[in-house]
């Protein structure tokens, strides 16, 4: 790999990594506060895609389309908790897990019935397909924008968690939920907030995902939720710093395996990446950052 190729791949890794980091953060945030794995999380990406599609048909400019996509995921996430998970608040981990599978199936079924089984194109501005040349390095505009949006989102989230009273309440609740309630942190409020942030993160990642894949179908959410799960497990489930690290690690792993594996092995990139992950978990089953549930 030449140095300029390396720089190109590095930008690609940062770009893919920031999508994974956002996805993993959203999944980990809910796990940290509630101890539940929401496998309907991927459907939030699907919902983002269809919401973008709808906004495009209504003639909205792309910035508005993107915002509609993000908001749709945020609202859907809060509603998901309110309708499906709140009645099972103190149920076991497995009950909640299966409920989230059911929610995922319902949403997929709804899109199959209401729209189509087939993929629909999500139009994105031509600009995103361009590349800029810096010396001998060619970098795609989409990669730069993705990495930048990822960085801004992470900074905003960190600021929120560190500086605001609501953010502080969330951190306290993820460390010791009962004691946080004894202090006056409202259980329903903090859980709704966790789902809202989780949904907004999925929405931002979803818009970036749509910009890469430019299409949406009822099962679009499957790959994102798996990647989010793997990334957060690498970092240590429920640990937000770990989720971010796991996201970037997984992104870099996939990009560099893609770039270095011989052509005949390329179809096995995902499998190779997963083997590395299995190796990490063999040595550190709790993930790289994990002890138990904790936040930033």
């Amino acid at each position: 790999m030449t140095p300029s190729e390396f720089v190109q791949q590095l930008v690609n890794a940062l770009s893919l990594g920031s999508i994974y980091a956002l996805l993993a953060l959203g999944l980990s945030m809910v796990y940290g506060v509630m101890g539940m794995l929401n496998f309907a999380y991927g459907e939030l990406v699907t919902i983002t895609g269809y919401a973008m599609l709808a906004a495009t048909y209504l003639g909205a400019p792309f910035v508005v389309v993107a915002l509609v996509g993000i908001l749709a995921a945020g609202v859907a996430s809060v509603l998901m908790e309110l309708i499906a998970f709140r009645p099972l608040r103190n149920a076991s981990f497995v009950s909640l897990l299966f409920t989230s599978f059911a929610v995922a199936q319902l949403i997929q079924g709804a899109f199959r019935q209401a729209v189509s089984v087939r993929a629909r194109g999500v139009p994105v501005p031509d600009l995103l397909g361009n590349a800029i040349q810096i010396g001998s390095v060619r970098i795609s505009v989409l990669s730069i924008i993705t990495a930048a949006i990822g960085a801004v989102s992470l900074a905003a989230l960190t600021l929120f968690l560190r500086r605001s009273r609501a953010g502080l309440s969330m951190r306290a609740a993820s460390q010791d939920f009962t004691t946080a309630r004894l202090m006056g942190v409202r259980a329903n409020g903090v859980i709704s907030l966790a789902f809202l942030i989780s949904g907004l993160l999925a929405g931002i990642a979803g818009v970036l995902w749509m910009a890469r894949t430019t299409s949406v179908n009822p099962t679009t959410g499957f790959v994102p939720v798996i990647e989010a799960f793997i990334a957060s497990v690498i970092g240590g489930l429920g640990n937000l710093r770990g989720a971010v690290f796991g996201g970037f690690f997984l992104g870099a792993l996939e990009v560099f395996l893609q770039a270095t594996l011989p052509g005949s092995l390329l179809p096995y990139t995902q499998a190779a990446a997963l083997l590395v992950v299995v190796g990490i978990l063999y040595v550190r089953p709790q993930g790289l950052f994990g002890q138990k549930v904790e936040a930033i």
Binding site: R165, L168, S169, R171, A172, Q175, D176, T178, T179, A180, R181, L182, M183, G184, V185, R186, A187, E294, A295
Partner: protein
Amino acid sequence: MTDRSVTDPLLAVDGLTVGYGSVLALRDVSLEVAAGEIVAALGPNGAGKTTLLRTLAGALKPRSGSVRFDGSSIVGMGPESVVRRGIALIPEGRHVFPKLTVQENLTIGGITRSDREELRADAQRWLERFPILGERSGQLAGTLSGGEQQQLAIARALMSRPRMLLLDEPSLGLGPIFVDRIFELVVELRDAGTTILLVEQNVHRALAIADRAYVLSVGSVVASGPTESLVEGELERSYLGIGQPG
């Protein structure tokens, strides 16, 4: 067995029964705490003292019985509502938030209040009252010693400006110097107008500061009265589990 009924109590518990699965942790417990009192709840391990405090704070739901605070029922409320009524629990084992700083722990303690200026002043006051916390206000609470964490747990609970404080085993695992400080503080708080229900294993220390005491044994109140009238014999019987007085 002596009893003195309190006229117009701040906290009135009547016939409280709490269970975990098929096991009853509290059986038909009744007690009263008047405003401005220190009342101790004593008894051996497993007597139900922690269950009592957690139920009063809303963290456990009772099977039956009533809890009235300042005249209105608080039974069935969640902990986040009970603390808004003016009851703060300092849980056994302190439960400070280990990954939050000392300052952030205090901020969470005042999360029910919205008077920002006063909150800042209160936090400052506690950091001055406990200089060791003041020195470490930016440090993670998990790095403090047990005694320092207990001081933080108390200061954190007081940030909500409670009318009544439920203290669960505040001296547990602390050295004698810290125990002295904690008990001095409890008296100081009572003198400043906070009503206190204290659960303690350290019977003699608790009786030395309490106005009245209830003795619990396997989930029931077996003796109660002003501390001076509680004869040692009753206490010992309940601790050793010999016979059931009353």
